[in-house]
Symmetry: C2
Subunit: 495 residues, 2 copies
Amino acid sequence: MTRPVKHWDLALQLDIGGADQPLFVCIARGLEQAVAQGRLGAGARVPGTRQLAAALGVHRNTVIAAYRELLAEGYLESRVGLGTFVAASLPESKPRRFGKPPPLPGLARTLGYALGAQAVQAPGYVPVPRGTLALYGGLPDVRLLPRAALARAYRRALADPATLSYGDPAGHPRLRQALASMLSATRGLAIGEQDLVVTRGSQMALALCARVLLSAGDVVAVEQHGYAPAWQALRAAGARLCPLPLDAHGLSVDALATLCETEPVRAVYLTAHHQYPTTVTLSASRRLALLALARRKRFAILEDDYDHEFHYEGRPILPLASADTAGSVVYIGTLSKVLAPGVRIGYVVAPAPLLGALVAQRFYLDRQGDQATEAAVAELFEDGEVQRHVRRARRVYRARRDLCAHLLARSFGDELSFRVPPGGMAFWIKARRGLPVERWLGCAQREGVLFQPGRLFDFEQRASPFLRLGFAGLDERELVEAMRRLQRARKQARG
Amino acid sequence: MTRPVKHWDLALQLDIGGADQPLFVCIARGLEQAVAQGRLGAGARVPGTRQLAAALGVHRNTVIAAYRELLAEGYLESRVGLGTFVAASLPESKPRRFGKPPPLPGLARTLGYALGAQAVQAPGYVPVPRGTLALYGGLPDVRLLPRAALARAYRRALADPATLSYGDPAGHPRLRQALASMLSATRGLAIGEQDLVVTRGSQMALALCARVLLSAGDVVAVEQHGYAPAWQALRAAGARLCPLPLDAHGLSVDALATLCETEPVRAVYLTAHHQYPTTVTLSASRRLALLALARRKRFAILEDDYDHEFHYEGRPILPLASADTAGSVVYIGTLSKVLAPGVRIGYVVAPAPLLGALVAQRFYLDRQGDQATEAAVAELFEDGEVQRHVRRARRVYRARRDLCAHLLARSFGDELSFRVPPGGMAFWIKARRGLPVERWLGCAQREGVLFQPGRLFDFEQRASPFLRLGFAGLDERELVEAMRRLQRARKQARG
């Protein structure tokens, strides 16, 4: 029976080599150093003498002598019945900040060069402040998720110790089976578990595809408005990106054909179902033209179908992959919207030789997925929990979309123009001249509401009269309140 | 109240464009196609007429007419009280194997070139057969893990919906705090949560470091015997690897100094504490020499301290990072041995500019970790569960090490020579000439026991008289049985 102890064995740098000092002094100096380095903060409890003696392999009396020394010097103080503590009155110690290396030759200077060669723009993570309503486009309402069922499934997954060991880098077999069934039934893809690899969300799916398909300098066509982190994943693999215009029917396949005349286009990355961020669906004639062009010019189509499930008008459009007879399409999906972004599960469906290379890349990058999470999510599929959740979420999101359209029209009249999206989780809105988007956003932030300015989605990050406004993540009461705050912010932005 | 349904809405490719066929025929042909593609297997239940009619947005009578057509044609059969099914007697349908694209021009052919450019060797995942005892070096005994506590912590983590949303790509703040405390106390690193990034195990830690620190053609020194997936991660970033000799004091720093005379060494990757796989600890004098050399030659030291906790003789040796005053050392650790490989949590401690670049790379590769898992593991640290588990596992593994040493000596006498490792989870064993390792392994596999041949760890993958034999993952009864099987296999290998 072990006693619960909430601290770690303390590692001391003891300079015991020199015979000129007794052992207890060495230990005292080691503890002093730990305090000076900030590893033992003022007021922190030090280990018991018995425990430290055992850890150091010395007699307990030696540790007692060292502690007495430090008590005398005022480094430590003893509290009756509680133990021994670092003195609370010590001048606040400044731990050596590993983050700020001293100005010596070394990694800190060499770094400049290395980062120069591989630099990517840091994303700058800023959490949404508490109380702020984020009308972000990519956020599902994770409160709808059957969390108790997920927790139960996770517990059951852990019951098998094998789940905690090394496993298949292609993903847990049960999850691959569940995903293959879902894709067979709903996406017109006649596939089995051997035809897909499980990834960490669509971001890793895309990063893996980029690394396997592309070489430095390869040309990849993308949509003029799109998902910047996807572009970065392509760039990280050395791709040269060429943006293509969009219109009410989606990506201009004519422009792509023209590009193919002058450039050896190696791949096109697109969001055909609900174009990100404009929500437009690629028209049937363009789908056929794109597939024919890919076949003729032998480029790969990276189809990112990130929110297939959330289509509110008629049936969802089957993906390009379902109509692909030439093996041109690499199909990327995710459970980030179906379940939650935090679950980090995505997948790639691809022809066998590509799939093998993807699994190898995944292995050297990440070994394998979190098997317990993968097994738990597989169970939610097997029990129909995911299916039920998707149906419910779709109903809820449709109602929120309609409410949001109503509120936007009522609150902003013709200042904002938009079309009600047939699917997805966001409106793509054009603000009239009199309402400058960036200024409005600044005021909105102070009012406690956030949306995404069009600039974030533009290939050149140009200022834009557009904005993206997500409706799925907030409930009706929150949407009404968010709209009120947006109205107040508008007043300030115009005033 | 939704009814539990365990199948997905069926997506049909309906060719309704042509006015020459009535709607019910289109639906019948769509279903036929789904059967032909193998998306609806023989004997599968088809959706109810009401459900399909709602999904397709047609009158229920139209679906009834389509089903009647298919019943008449023998595609479907009706079972009283059960519903309508795809006929069980249909010739077995062959789904289009996405894995085997038809021999058309397209991705399948283009692929050859792309894979050639970025090819990495596939790891070839082979699960351990049921009943086989795997004496694998890197496997902790996950049965010792406080799984019930982990499951409870996971459930509590899910109670906060924010855990399921987007979060900090550097890792959950609570986990970073817990890891920083542990590293401060046990590794002599005076760091705070801002000084580390959480990764997916040490594999991703290393892949990120390689991508951020290296450019194509950069020279990286490695140990002659080592961890092949680490080498692959370095190679994937374009590194040219130079193996260095090892002896009883670890990596030869003299050989590294010589290499530096002729090559611009950019980094050295090593396992200083318990050298992988030889279990040797880098000697104090070589540690100092290595740090001085790194400072003078301005290369980075990638220190992979994968099993720091499991040291059985005296105190664990503090890492190189704790003695580094120049910012040369990038310190990589993992919870794969502390907790379990399946949990997939590792970390990198590095100077600030490098850390920022690592987080950016992580973002574009994987967005963020699994926040629920990270929060759950943080709770296990906060409650002292991890600390308690480590102490217990250390005691258990030490006993297993001693048992294993005893059994090896008793069963194999001087056929095998080894030294009892001061830490880690495996023996590094040399087999005498008369016992060919590869043949022995072949026989062992048939007897239901596995070990790792030395070839796997050699930089050139040369046949070798060495083998690695892990002792941590099996309990005493299993170790005794494994040794019996190894003896039987030896007889066959020699006979």
